[in-house]
């Protein structure tokens, strides 16, 4: 049995008086590809943002790669070093070139030399199929290209886990495929990943586990065939019928 690389136990979180995460128990094993879906405001983004402490949980425990997330900033830094994150709005650094976006984090957070960092950056830019854009600024690229750079930037840090927070939601339909192709590639290479997305075709194709969330709770967790083919709860059925109609 493979060990759990991410483990959430009884996680609760409030924004003011609003409880956004309710008793979340969830574990991800090494190499597992998990897709989290659910309606807006169901807490799915908050959940994965808790995993690298962009949000703090109020109760319960989160253990990532054997390290417990707590007030200790060294623990937080150690976890962030192992966890890569791709955002809905790319969040590239607009004042740096594509190459520098990939190089600077390696130098500052990994202590790499500029030469090594540049070589690695070019390797990953090739892997996401845009080495020719290295000298450009993010604003000169299309959304799909920017998101691929963001993926390359995360991969340069050689993370053990990748988190994707709706990576294709801000993209034009034509560009969704080029980004998903890159993520599928990555999934097939054995990377552990947790992905919040509405792309059900993608979930079917790559996910080992699909988690359905609503109202801050995990409603259902199952392999994609089961969850899509034979959903157990009424809420899941209702949600799936809504999105599969189109």
């Amino acid at each position: 049995m493979p060990s759990n690389i991410i483990e959430l136990r009884g996680v609760n979180k409030w924004f003011g008086n609003l409880q956004v995460l309710k008793d979340i128990d969830l574990s991800v094993t090494q190499g597992e590809r998990m897709v989290i879906c659910g309606p807006s405001g169901s807490g799915k983004s908050t959940l994965i943002r808790c995993i690298n402490r962009l949000e703090q949980h109020d109760e319960g425990s989160i253990v990532v790669d054997g390290i417990t997330l707590d007030e200790n900033t060294e623990h937080v830094t150690a976890i962030r070093r192992e966890v890569g994150m791709v955002f809905q709005s790319f969040n590239l650094f607009p004042h740096l070139t594509v190459l520098e976006n990939c190089v600077l984090p390696q130098i500052r957070a990994r202590g790499s030399s500029r030469k090594d960092a540049t070589a690695k950056a070019m390797t990953y830019l090739e892997r996401v199929r845009i080495p020719e854009q290295a000298a450009k600024f993010p604003a000169q690229l299309s959304g799909g290209q920017q998101q691929r750079v963001a993926i390359a930037r995360s991969l340069c840090m050689e993370p053990k886990i990748m988190l994707f927070d709706e990576p294709t939601s801000a993209l034009d339909p034509e560009m969704i495929k080029e980004v998903l192709d890159v993520i599928v590639d990555l999934a097939q290479s054995g990377m552990t990943m947790v992905c919040v997305t509405h792309e059900m075709g993608f979930a079917r194709k790559v996910a080992d586990t699909v988690v359905f969330m609503d109202g801050g709770r995990v409603i259902e967790k199952a392999p994609p065939q089961e969850l899509f083919g034979n959903p157990q709860s009424d809420r899941t059925k209702q949600f799936l019928s809504q999105i599969l109609e189109h």
Partner: protein
């Protein structure tokens, strides 16, 4: 074989003529009005006001002929200009540093830092500059500066050392005086720079900080490599304005006998009794310095434009 007809949508056509006329009847009327006003002013000054311009009395105060050395040497106006330039360059540097640090403090998570920087900005922005200059120089700086005995320090230096001090800070005899004025100007201007930097920091979206955090940057690195560079670029235009203001405000320290351009101009004006020649000339000098600086900032802005959305 018949060729497929060319689709019109494939052909790029030039736009048919400019959309707006660049020059219309309104522009002529406006121009005529401005011209009439200028002619009227010229007539008033020549006929009614009757001022005899005598520029020749001014030039010896720019350069004078040293009969002993047998060559032309810079006189009061040029010396004043050099002091003004020194004040401007050091002042921009110092006000920039003070403003950046205080701006960071304004956005700090620590309450004490926020209080200190808030108090600093509040005090300086709400009193007139002239009052600040007097209060600062007579009640604060003059208690501290003599204790530092910088004049003695410089006097003890080697001759090359003294030469460099002269280049950077002006006459070693007046170094206390110069630093006093510089500090006064920088602290005063720094308060405005603080507010500009604060606005810049707030203009950088939170998501940029999150991106830095998620990549494992330290807190300081997020500030240094992600937030601050973007913040400063976003506020280049108001920053240029503030630095130009600083150069013009440097004339205020003439009130406490810093011998910069305006101080010297007053001296020359008293000696020659040619008020208008002296101040028109000095005004042109200020204009040239400030305009050059504004061009410099404009080119910086243009350079960064490509990286901005």
């Amino acid at each position: 074989m018949a060729q497929a007809p060319k689709l019109t949508s494939d052909v790029t056509r030039a736009r048919p003529g400019p959309r707006r006329r660049p020059w219309g009847w309104f522009d002529f009327v406006l121009l005529a009005a401005v011209a009439c006003f200028c002619v009227y002013l010229a007539w008033r000054t020549n006929v009614v006001f009757k001022y005899n311009w005598e520029w020749s009395t001014l030039w010896p105060f720019v350069f004078r002929f040293d009969t002993e050395a047998g060559k032309w040497v810079p006189n009061l106006i040029i010396e004043g200009l050099l002091t003004t330039l020194r004040l401007a360059i050091w002042g921009i540097l110092l006000a920039g540093i003070i403003g950046t640090l205080m701006g960071l403090a304004r956005n700090s998570q620590r309450l004490l830092l926020r209080l200190i920087s808030g108090l600093y900005v509040m005090l300086i922005r709400n009193i007139p500059p002239v009052v600040f200059v007097f209060v600062f120089v007579f009640f604060i700086a003059s208690q501290i500066m003599p204790k530092l005995a910088l004049g003695d320090v410089v006097a003890g230096m080697s001759s090359t050392g003294q030469w460099w001090v002269h280049v950077f800070f002006g006459s070693p005899k007046l170094i206390d005086n110069f630093l006093l004025g510089l500090l006064c100007l920088s602290i005063f201007s720094g308060a405005y720079v603080t507010e500009i930097v604060r606005a810049g920091l707030e203009s950088v979206p939170r998501s940029q900080i999150e991106a830095g955090d998620s990549l494992g940057f330290s807190r300081l690195d997020v500030m240094r490599f992600v937030v601050l560079p973007q913040a400063l670029r976003n506020v280049l235009p108001p920053m240029a304005g503030q630095f130009i203001q600083l150069i013009k405000d440097s004339s205020l320290v003439s009130l406490v006998s810093i011998q910069e351009l305006t101080f010297m101009a007053q001296d020359v004006q008293v000696t020659t009794q040619r008020v208008f020649e002296v101040f028109v000339f000095v005004g042109v000098i200020y204009f040239v310095i400030c305009f050059a600086l504004s061009r410099l900032f404009a080119s910086l802005e243009q350079r960064y434009a490509q990286a901005n959305r």
